[in-house]
């Protein structure tokens, strides 16, 4: 096992030993559950959101609808909760100096943390998807899904589309995680990093709805949370998907590179 893999494994152990990890994961799983329960008790539905009208046709629609609602601040908050803490908690506990005085270079330790944060983002999104699909299917059955183009696809095909959509949705969320990790490295303060990253996510959303921002809208991070709509068109619309790939790559790479440079050089003292 390489050094980074060993560090990554321990980063996961650390995450699994901390309450905030479960708080985030629990919230990601509770939201679709509550969503299904509430819709079961009421007759109305979220008709003005993508796939909202078909929510009771098949359990497969549930995670898609929840993706929409959680993109505004739910997932960004859950993401920032952990990614904004992953470096600063070590500063606050004073454990950063403990691990930096062993036999691993700072770059390796940073890489371990990046992979751990990425794993967490992946897990919360897919956990939501799984819980949503299962709870929705229990409530309304596992039936064919109506696409955004109006044609129906089989339940099996719908499940594949869901997996692809969740994977694509991970990218903008990783952009927020990268920004939170950057703040975590620079501020050494978990609360500031979590709040700062959430503000960043909300700012991206806000810019997207202000008048006059049409020209930059396709390149905002918030817009990429809708890129999965491309998968739900028959035939698939690849333009938003490909754009999300490169736009998110920038939103991930820039803060990560900055955080990496700071982490390599910063003084670890008095924290």
């Amino acid at each position: 096992m390489t050094a980074v893999a060993r560090i990554y494994r321990w980063e996961i152990v650390k995450l699994l030993a901390q309450k905030r990890t479960y708080l985030g994961l629990g919230a990601a799983m509770a939201v679709p559950l509550i969503f299904v329960i509430v819709l079961n008790l009421q007759s109305g539905g979220p008709n003005d959101v993508p796939l909202g009208r078909y929510i009771r046709d098949t359990g497969l629609a549930t995670p898609f609808v929840v993706l929409f609602f959680m993109s505004i601040w739910g997932f960004p908050l859950i993401t920032a909760l952990v990614a904004g803490d992953i470096v600063s908690s070590e500063s606050q506990h004073g454990t950063l100096k403990t691990i930096l005085t062993r036999s691993r270079d700072r770059g390796e330790i940073f890489a371990g943390k990046v992979f751990a944060a990425a794993t967490y983002v992946l897990v919360i999104v897919f956990a939501m998807g799984l819980v949503g699909a299962v709870a929705g299917s229990i409530a309304w059955g596992f039936h064919p899904l109506t696409s955004l183009s109006g044609s129906r696809v089989s339940a099996g095909h719908g499940t594949a589309l869901l997996a692809a959509s969740l994977a694509l949705y991970v990218l903008p969320l990783a952009g927020i995680a990268a920004f939170a990790l950057f703040l975590s490295t620079v501020t050494r303060n978990s609360a500031a990093s979590v709040v700062g990253a959430l503000m960043w996510a909300l700012l991206m959303q806000l810019l997207g709805v202000l008048p006059g921002t049409e020209a930059i809208r396709p390149y905002l991070l918030g817009t990429q949370f809708e890129a999965w709509h491309g998968f739900l068109r028959i035939p698939a619309d690849w333009a938003p998907v490909f754009r999300a790939l490169w736009v998110c790559a920038i939103y991930i790479a820039v803060p990560l590179a900055a955080a990496y440079l700071v982490f390599l050089r910063r003084d670890v003292a008095g924290d």
Binding site: A3, G94, K97, T101
Partner: protein, 313 residues
């Protein structure tokens, strides 16, 4: 300066804004030394250790551990080096053993197989399963030593290892340091406690405001101090003339029939013979040694704890 000395620094400076925490330190610790880095709180002891461990970047100057530069060589510079600054810190939500397993994995090199052994050395085996969050200060210090020993160090850097311990804990910690030194590990230990350094170290550097004001053995420090003697004799006036005639004695003070003078030991030996030959009876000849404590306070400007500056030191 030997090229591969365990610790060698030259012109090392660390500045925080206006405060110069470490001010041009040239320090060499040789193999086998138990070296005391002694100074009041806020003198810049921890800052020096941080630079040695590569945790902070020097403003100027160089640090070398066995000839390797912590800045340029990163973790490789810490090969064979272990230690902690400002008290060891661990993950409070993991057990003592889990913490050691984590650090052993960061070390590689079969460190995992030594966990039981080092827990035994610091007598923490019984509590290894408990979370570190519930450990006392003394247990954390001991776990800190255990985590350092996992690396099979040739050089141990210890920052005030007995601070905050009760008397029994202090005694155990010093005993442990002595034992490790006995096994041939070079130790650089910072302390603000003179008696601790006196007890453990063969060489010291005394620090004042980031600068080394004395470096060498404590015994030599004592010997360099000008030593005064008080002499009571049967005939003070005649004795005074005899004393003043001796080479190496410049002035003799007389108070209440008692003579006071300054001289080295050789001169004093000659004085007693001369006085005897002059048939002057010696009633008492008392050396007025400056204590190490006095020398230390003199060198460090008598500064006591300065907690405001400790935050950056």
């Amino acid at each position: 300066m030997t090229d591969d000395a365990p610790v060698a620094t030259s012109g090392l400076v660390k500045r925080y804004g206006d405060l110069v925490a470490v001010d041009g330190v040239d320090l060499t610790v040789e193999r086998g030394d138990v070296f005391g880095y002694l100074g009041p709180n806020g003198a810049g002891k921890t800052t020096l250790l941080r630079m040695l461990l590569g945790l902070i970047r020097p403003t100027a100057g160089q640090a070398r551990l066995f000839g390797r530069d912590p800045l340029a060589d990163g973790a490789k510079a810490l090969q064979g080096v272990a230690g902690f600054v400002e008290g060891p810190r661990f993950y409070p939500y993991l057990s003592g053993r889990r913490n050691l397993e984590l650090l052993a994995d960061y070390d590689g090199d079969g460190a995992r197989s030594r966990i039981d052994e080092v827990l035994e050395v610091v007598e923490l085996r019984d509590r290894a399963k408990d979370r570190v969050g519930g450990y006392s200060h003394g247990m954390r210090q001991r776990l800190g030593i255990a985590s350092a020993l996992l690396r099979r160090p040739q050089l141990l850097l210890l920052d005030e290892p007995t601070t905050g311990l009760d008397p029994a804990g202090m005694r155990d910690m010093r005993e442990l340091v002595r034992r490790l030194a006995g096994e041939g590990i070079t130790i650089l230990l910072s302390s603000h406690l003179l008696n601790e350094v006196e007890e453990l170290c063969n060489r010291v550097a005394i620090i004042r405001k980031g600068r080394i004001v004395y470096e060498g053995g404590l015994g030599e420090l004592l010997a360099t101090a000008t030593t005064g003697y008080r002499l009571r004799v049967s005939e003070p006036e005649r004795a005074r003339t005899v004393l003043l005639a001796q080479h190496g004695i410049d002035t003799v003070a007389v108070t209440d029939g008692e003579l006071g003078f300054t001289a080295d030991e050789e001169t004093v030996a000659r004085v007693t013979i001369t006085l005897g030959q002059a048939r002057i009876g010696i009633k008492a000849l008392v050396p007025q040694t400056a204590s190490l404590e006095e020398l230390f306070l003199g060198l460090t400007g008598g500064e006591s704890s300065d907690h405001d500056r400790e935050a950056v030191a």
